[in-house]
């Protein structure tokens, strides 16, 4: 039997605990807290860290997520490094202030434990919560594992605070699957991570009384449009700078932070695209099918906003068939990730055939045999114009 090498810095942790550990190392000035399943263990773990004196953060206990995001916006405008965390209906309740945080250009970082939006009320994983705010102007980074969620907190923070970006960022992980599942997580050295993120020096801060500014004034027909165009440019910058900061973070962690991860894609005849934890399940199926001589591959998308259209088109240009796994529905339209991928492929001279899959709504399990069936559907050329609903009875 092989000996498993366990480094001292490897610790068994849930995704939620790993993200709280990142927050300990970041030591934000202010964290506004309101519990919601399955995000609660993030703030719970972090509150204990603060109570134990291992972080000097000011915790604000608020009465709703609308207040949590409002308090975070206020703290960030005051000049603080400010955070909160949420999921599902909490994110929906924040919605109004989520847009305001982005338009006020406040570099807030918010970990998310993805959960299905009500109704019917449900506490388990899907991506309807973050898809609901995909046009809010936040950067959205998705994580396959607890390790990725942990490391991408630092990437998100440094990207959000970059002077050419100044946008808030969500770091998403799958509710329960990742947030409550225990994995071995390598926690990087405190000093190294502190040095990586550096000191936060806001250019405009309400508490900088020598240079008074007004945050969030009225802009009507005269200037609102110009302010929106600034957000468009900031997102373009975020896409470029994401890779630069990712390379810098790679030096510390040894992991890659491309817009997406390509798994066995080089000679693949069929590729499935997914986000968050299901990417791991698909990798296992790819390994099994490769052993059987079937040329299948996977693309795991890390950066959903800003969306890397050109790079995805380039990566998929020689793939005959592409299937897209959405864990959210867009009622009356094509599913969100499928729509974006299809959009990205429009400019190719030779477009791959496509198939849309929706799976796992409300935490419905997805099994290896179902992923294998999806690959076989693509390999056999049985694509349809309709979305295939995996695991939904009667579909």
């Amino acid at each position: 039997m092989d000996t498993i090498q366990v480094s001292k810095s490897m610790r068994p942790m849930t995704g939620a605990q790993a993200v709280a550990e990142a927050m300990r190392q970041i030591n934000p000035d202010v964290v506004a807290m309101y519990p919601i399943t399955p995000q609660t263990p993030i703030i719970e773990t972090f509150a204990k860290i603060v109570a134990d004196g291992r972080a000097s953060t000011e915790i604000i206990r608020v009465e709703s997520e609308h207040s949590a995001m409002s308090a975070t916006v206020g703290a960030a405008a005051a000049g603080a490094r400010a955070m909160t965390a949420t999921a599902a209906n909490g994110l929906a309740l924040m919605d109004e202030i989520v847009y305001i945080a982005a338009s006020m250009r406040l570099p807030i970082v918010m970990p998310i434990a993805n959960r299905a939006l009500s109704g019917p009320i449900n506490i388990h994983c899907d991506h309807s919560d973050t898809m609901n705010v995909r046009d809010s102007g936040w950067i959205q980074i998705y994580s396959e594992t607890a390790q990725e969620a942990y490391e991408q907190m630092f990437l998100a923070l440094k990207l959000a605070e970059h002077k050419d970006v100044l946008l808030p960022a969500m770091v998403c992980q799958d509710g329960f699957v990742t947030s409550h599942g225990v994995e071995n997580v390598k926690i990087h050295d405190d000093e190294t991570m502190k040095k990586f993120i550096g000191e936060y020096k806001p250019e405009y801060a309400l508490l900088d009384v020598d240079n008074p500014v007004t945050y969030g004034p009225l802009q009507l027909q005269d200037y609102y449009f110009e302010t929106k165009k600034q957000q468009v440019d900031a997102m373009k910058n975020a896409k470029r700078i994401f890779l630069e900061i990712g390379k810098e973070l790679s030096q510390i962690t040894g992991h890659d932070y491309g817009y997406f991860e390509k798994y066995e894609m080089d000679d693949a005849e069929a590729v499935l695209i997914a986000m968050n934890s299901t990417a791991g399940n698909i990798k296992a199926v790819v390994d099994k099918m490769r052993k059987e001589g079937k040329k299948v591959g996977m693309m795991k998308l890390r950066l959903f906003r800003p969306f890397p259209y050109e790079e995805i088109a380039e990566a998929l240009k020689d793939v005959p068939v592409v299937g897209v796994f959405d864990r959210a529905e867009s009622f009356g339209a094509r599913p969100p990730l499928y729509g974006e991928i299809r959009n990205a492929l429009f400019d190719l001279d030779k477009k791959p055939d496509m198939q849309s899959f929706v799976f796992g709504l409300g935490g419905r399990d997805i099994f290896s045999h179902q992923i294998e069936d999806a690959f076989n559907m693509l390999l056999d050329g049985k694509m349809t114009d309709e979305t295939k609903y995996i695991g939904c009875r009667g579909c």
Binding site: Y204, Y223, T227, A234
Partner: protein
């Protein structure tokens, strides 16, 4: 892009609307007190015309004007600051001696 220390908006900026790259991000106002530059008096459709001969200096108009546009000098009402008067007509409505007459703004633009 305007940077720290640069003030926005100034009188200069109000003369011509600025391009999106030439204003602070997020609509930030970096010139404190610059709301005074915005002459809201241009909004009015009716203008109060003040008759000092009728005025008894009761100060009702001064206390009810929502824009603090009634000018008082040495304890006496001396007229209305038309740069900020929005023409709501509360002064004329409340005046017990009818010292204000509301006239259409178009009459003054002939």
């Amino acid at each position: 892009m305007i940077f720290m220390g640069d003030k926005f908006p100034t009188q200069e900026h109000l003369k011509k609307k600025q391009n999106y790259k030439d204003i602070p991000r997020a609509g930030l106002i970096t010139n404190p007190g610059s709301s005074m530059l915005n002459k809201t008096g241009t909004w009015k459709a009716f203008r109060p015309v003040f008759d000092a001969g009728k005025c008894i200096n009761c100060m009702i108009c001064y206390s009810v004007c929502p824009e603090e546009a009634v000018i008082v000098k040495d304890g006496k009402v001396s007229g209305v600051n038309l740069d900020y008067c929005k023409g709501c007509g509360i002064c004329a409505n409340e005046c017990p001696v009818k010292a204000y007459e509301m006239k259409e703004e178009s009459e003054f633009k002939k």
